[in-house]
Amino acid sequence: MPRSREGSPWTGLSAVYSKELADHLSSVLMRVLEWLVILSGLGAVYTAVQQLKTTTAEDRFLFLHLFTATSDAVPINFISLIGFLVPLVAIGLGFDSVNGEFNRRTMSRVLAQPIYRDALLFGKFLAGLSTLAISLVALFLLVIGLGLVLLGVPPNGEEVLRAIGFLVASIAYGGVWLAVAMLFSVIFRSSAAAAMCSIGFWLLLTVLWPILVRFVSQAIAATPESIATGQQTVGQLYLEVALSRISPNTLFMETMVGLLSPSTSSLQLGLQFIIPSQMLGTMGTPLQFGQSLLLVWPQLTALIATVIVFFAITYVTFQRQEIRA
């Protein structure tokens, strides 16, 4: 039956958004999140400050080392912590967003109101993203505030711009996992199944994918000589980097390094040759903020595009679903 709908798909969006946001902010999950945010912020800053106190070299970007510094005792810096926390939080916010309505048997009652499904799904997504953004901004301000107190050095303008870029990229990265979790929550009626699949997918892309990529690139691009010597060929290396960028985790990490380590001049070979000590060091000339932004632009847009793609798949799946509960 050919049909053209009348009325705006955005009717009711603000109602759904404010209700979902209120739900998120008052949920137990949010309490846990707040503590996680505070503890991780404190931990990361403490580690970084310990490390920075031992370095006496003059550095224009001292403040940014708050985000990137690691110590020998704790080999985790703030950005890797964020790269780990944000997906978990995003999955926590999204995994029961749609199937939860079915399980509570509220879906058909809500959709019997004068709104389209578009508003429900988009409102839920925006509310999840806002919750994520609120936690990240809080964490960000906490770290900067602590940094000011403990280091006693104010950030310069360029550092502030870079830090804001970091914030935007983290939110986009969270958006990817929020959209993934919502997709699974549309596909599966059981919240537990949706949570397991989201986490499984995340582990696949962050932990298993880098290993698989090495095998695949070796199988495709290795030459007899390279196998004999155990060295990677250039082709193999490029293939590996290209494949690894399918994972949003790689995209996020490259964006982070590009933005927060101003001396990074190329991401052509991924992060392979940028080891933590280099990130702290002053190798190479630092780039202007605009140049760094240009460097990570492909990664940043790819992250945002991934969000849109996953949300679009979720949207189509949801529109086609039969609403019976």
Binding site: M1, R3, S4, R5, E6, G7, T11, G12, A15, V16, K19, D23, R104, R105, T106, S108, R109, V110, L111, A112, Q113, P114, I115, Y116, E322, I323, R324, A325
Partner: protein
């Protein structure tokens, strides 16, 4: 009947899932201000019809006009004027009754100031005023159903669609709920309700449609259906003491059949089938046969009897 008098005008409604036909060309004409019952066994297609009327499921064929709009073309207009209470209705357990309704009011686009007074009024009317600030997780099944009705009342719907409103309720809650549905009708709402509990629903329905396997097999008022299925006759139950009562009863003119029923030791029970109401003659016949009449009752045609008889005949014909 012109279309202006109709709250719901659905003709030739069809729903197919692949090769399976869930709803097979049904017509439903529901007048303004009446309570119409969709009755039938589980899986007969009642809920599918309701979802198509609301525009929550796309229909495969047919036309629908509900509250003056087509749900496939103007879903928002339809949903603005139609209230819906799904089978085993659910609410947000972590919110209060008032907050649940406030969310729906916001979705329905009711201005906040007006929503506030409407919600208070609706909760009061459905006797939920005392528990308005309680979380819905503490509510019993009956209270949830009443909250569902309060939502419909708050929306000032022209048409209310209730899917199995009484399922899972104890007799007292059922009676309360049915009384409230009547109140909605008294306010001028047209009501379509579905149920598989025939005797409960019979009390409040003006007209009913019997559903089976995606088709409406019978439609009309309960007496009309009784006439169509049970024949024009009536059934009278008699309990009497005395020999020869049965023979005397069967001699009364108009009686077509006397069926002895299992009684207790002292009395005999009979079911008398007659072409017209012959209760006075039957009483006289018992007296004349030196019997003692203990009880005489004209059996009201019940939907249960109609329904059972109809399906018996169907299976016999097959």
């Amino acid at each position: 009947m012109t279309s202006g008098d109709l709250a719901i005008d659905a003709r030739g409604l069809v729903k197919k899932y692949g090769a399976a036909i869930a709803v097979d060309g049904i017509d439903l004409l529901i007048k303004k201000g009446e309570i119409f019952g969709l009755l039938g066994p589980n899986g007969a297609g009642k809920t599918t019809v309701i979802l198509m009327l609301l525009g929550l499921t796309d229909r495969t064929g047919g036309t629908v006009d509900i509250a003056g709009h087509d749900p496939a073309r103007q879903p928002l207009e339809v949903k603005r004027h139609v209230g819906y209470m799904p089978d085993s209705v659910g609410f947000y357990d972590n919110l209060t009754a008032r907050a649940n309704l406030a969310y729906i009011a916001e979705l329905a686009g009711i201005p906040r100031a007006e929503a506030k007074s409407r919600i208070a009024d609706a909760l009061e009317r459905m006797r939920l005023g005392d528990v308005a600030e309680k979380k819905v997780s503490t509510f019993s099944r009956g209270m949830r159903q009443r909250l569902g009705l309060a939502e419909i009342w708050m929306k000032r719907s022209q048409v209310a669609i209730l899917d199995e409103p009484t399922s899972g309720l104890d007799p007292q809650s059922t009676a309360e709920l049915l009384a409230m549905i009547r109140e909605l009708k008294a306010e001028g709402m047209s009501i379509l309700l579905s149920s598989h509990l025939l005797d409960r629903v019979q009390v409040i329905c003006d007209r009913v449609a019997l559903f089976n396997k995606g088709k409406v097999v019978l439609q009309g008022t309960v007496p009309e259906l009784a006439k169509a299925v049970l024949g024009g006759g009536i059934v009278i139950e008699i309990e009497a003491v005395g020999d020869g009562v049965a023979a005397a009863l069967s001699r009364v003119s108009g009686v077509t059949k006397v069926e002895p029923q299992a009684g207790n030791l002292a009395t005999n029970k009979y079911k008398v089938f007659a072409s017209r109401d012959v209760s006075a003659d039957l009483a006289a016949a018992v007296m004349n046969a030196q019997g003692r009449l203990i009880r005489l009752a004209v059996e009201e045609p019940s939907l249960d009897a109609i329904y059972t008889r109809y399906f018996e005949e169907q299976s016999r014909a097959a």
